[in-house]
Amino acid sequence: MSRRVSPAARLAAAQAALVEARTEQARLEAALAERSRALAVVDSLPTFVRAATPAQKHADEVMGDLSAINSQILVARQQVFVYERKVEEASRYWVRTGGIYPPLGNAERNAAVHSVESAPSAVERATKWLQIVELFVSPRVAREEIGDLLEIIHKYAAEGRPRWHVYVRAITGAVLATWHTWGDKLASLKKIGG
């Protein structure tokens, strides 16, 4: 059975793996520097001293270590690269779900914020639509019912209700307003007819 991982958990796991890979890389690079310093000390010794002491043997061992460490560092760097991409990928998904996006560049982040802020809100869309509906209803219904409807829609938005609540309310209100206009016309005709 596959286990679903939330975007936040995936991002946290990738970030933890990246930290671990970076720590390993740093440890190996410190070891390489230390071995290089040891080798430099051996290299500075006169040849006869190196021949008379175990220094040369030690230097050969250090050279072997350096080679192995260099290979490990390459692997560690690859790991860091892979996890950096994973963090980036996880973060991209995470920002689409409305969360925080730590590695996002300022320009990209500003563009995303701008596109969200400049999009017309549900209230603005519903208001425009009701202004069109207003052309087909009587002036009294427009002032009274459409006005009340706009108050309700603003209240919904202030309460943080989902967009579809606003749209459904606007549509049903508009249908009722049209219906009531015809009802009023019919009632006035009946009154005239006596």
């Binding site: 459409i146 108050e151 209100g173």
Partner: protein, 105 residues
Amino acid sequence: METFVNAKTAVLQALIRGPSFGLELIERVKTSTGGKVELNQGSVYPALRAMERDGLVESYDDDEVIPERGGRPRRSYKITAEGIRAARDTQKAAFGLFQLAEVKG
């Protein structure tokens, strides 16, 4: 929710407490009946206009400016003397009906 009173009766009773407009009347009826009677816009506005035609209520535009309404004034309603008489008659009739139910029960 199905209610045991019609919109006209409920709104007329609510207007005895003072002038009001559509949305507030819906809320007033709901609050005063403890949520037992919930009116909707579909029934309140036709009821108000029908009662206005019958001379039970009068309507006027409020001076208060509400930005959300985009310049549309609120339409308020107040009960007329005839409306008060009609409301009292309804109250008496309902009271008689409930007394009868109490005796029989």
